[in-house]
């Protein structure tokens, strides 16, 4: 049985990979590509499974909070590659863009590597996190501008 410390280390390692996956997948491909292009030395890569596009069934919940049901499908492209240090990265990105999925896989491999994790964080993940946050803030502010500010007309009745 695993002890608490190893479980904790494992779950934090997973959280780090999940964050990288999410940031790459939620950012536009051109932005991700541009950030990777600015890194001077990238690790050598070898594909371990040909990149391909398939579908996942997107599920919802009845009433938003109940039993699951199948809503409709979403095209998804996946990639798997190995970098110099031996780390294997997996990428799954919505859409049909192979390069986007391969960059997600590359990020997943780099984030697991002591050599590459820091570079990735500084050059790619931090700028993406900023961009994702800025976009969310802007949309949230646009929505806020359309929020109804109710006021009630006070009826004053004159004494007859």
């Amino acid at each position: 049985m695993k002890n608490d410390v190893s479980v904790e280390v494992e779950s934090s390692a997973i959280a780090v990979r999940q964050r990288a996956h999410g940031l790459i997948a939620k950012s536009p491909h051109e932005m991700v590509r541009d950030l990777f292009d600015r890194i001077e030395n990238l690790p050598n890569i070898k594909q371990v499974r040909p990149t391909d596009t398939g579908l996942i069934m997107v599920r919802g919940k009845v009433g938003g909070d109940g039993a699951r049901f199948n809503l409709g499908e979403l095209p998804l492209t996946r990639a798997a590659l190995r970098i110099d240090g031996g780390q294997v990265g997996i990428g799954y990105v919505a859409g049909r863009n192979s390069d986007h999925a391969e960059l997600a896989a590359l990020a997943d491999a780099m984030v697991q590597s002591e050599t590459w994790g820091g570079v990735l964080e500084e050059k790619v993940l931090v700028p993406l996190a900023d961009a994702v946050r800025d976009k969310k803030t802007e949309n949230g502010r646009k929505a806020a501008a359309t929020k109804v500010d109710f006021f009630t007309m006070v009826r004053t009745r004159k004494e007859k």
Binding site: I56, G60, D65, N70, L74, R141, A144, V148
Partner: protein, 373 residues
Amino acid sequence: MAYVSVKGGERAISNAHAWLDEARRGDTNVPELGVAQIREQLSLAVDRVMMEGSCYDPDLAALAIKQARGDVTEAIFLLRAYRTTLSRFGASEPINTTKMSVARRVSAAFKDIPGGQILGPTFDYTHRLIDFGLSDDKTVPAAPLGDTPVAEHIPAIASVFAHEALLEPAPTDADDGAEPYDLTRQPMAFPAGRDQRLQALARGDEGFLLSLAYASQRGWGNTHPLCGEIRMGEVAVEFTPEELGFPIEVGEITVTECQMISNFEGSAESPPQFTRGYGLTFGHNERKAMSMAIVDRALRHAEVGEAGVHAVQDEEFVLYHSDNVEASGFVQHLKLPHYVDFQAELQFVRRLKKEWEEARANSDTSEFAEAAE
């Protein structure tokens, strides 16, 4: 009668295709429409095609609309056909609409709903006057920004009722861990569970559902609900690849969700409370989400002891006829060659007519004979 195969349409068909291509392009003095233009500027048509085509891919849906010359049902067919060429990797974790980054969120039931009434980009308060200014290119000013963004997570309608237990709880997943019904893998079967119904309605034709919902409101269906909540915005889609064993976000999609609530006077088993109808669609499509929620609730008539006497309450009627790819195929197949069937019918009707005329001639003679007597 021997079957005579008919050939010779090939040249005509290929020339018809060439003319179709030309007709799609229209006047070549007018610049060609780009797929990105359709995606960005006809985005609600794109949303509808993605939902009823059951494939969330804005670029593909835009391309399908272009190829179909703007015929949305034809574009839906194209997208459905395309999705069958892709293999399935699995199913997402259920999307969490309470974590939606909302662009729009309104409630017709509670003026002061927590999180507020957020109108978002809506047609609702436009005057429906043609804007002649749009026929010329003009720069659109940026939408105004509020000082602080709306809350990141806006509570769902259920939270308003939470302390009173006045809203029926949503059904939970089956205890046996069974996967939800999937119409793309299993044939339609009855009686249908709520999961099967909601999937069919989500893929169903917007116009058909709108008419059913309207009929239901007007008395052919026993529901006149209130819109508890509509929300539209982006949600993250999470997927757990088998080789990773933990969920990852694979992207964000825009969805519209509608919670309809109607009174329920209670029964021996259940106290009086509000019941819910649920609608969820890809993209921004309130008309569809609202219609779906009304029809979902109407189909639950048996659960709440309502008599199921109207078409909208009959799940076989609704689910068998809501898919516009199937409906369009069956209606439109009638224009394909039925030469042999028709020959048989022709002979049949000729024979009936001859018999009818003979019978009439005989009865005329006998009547004449009777009259003469």
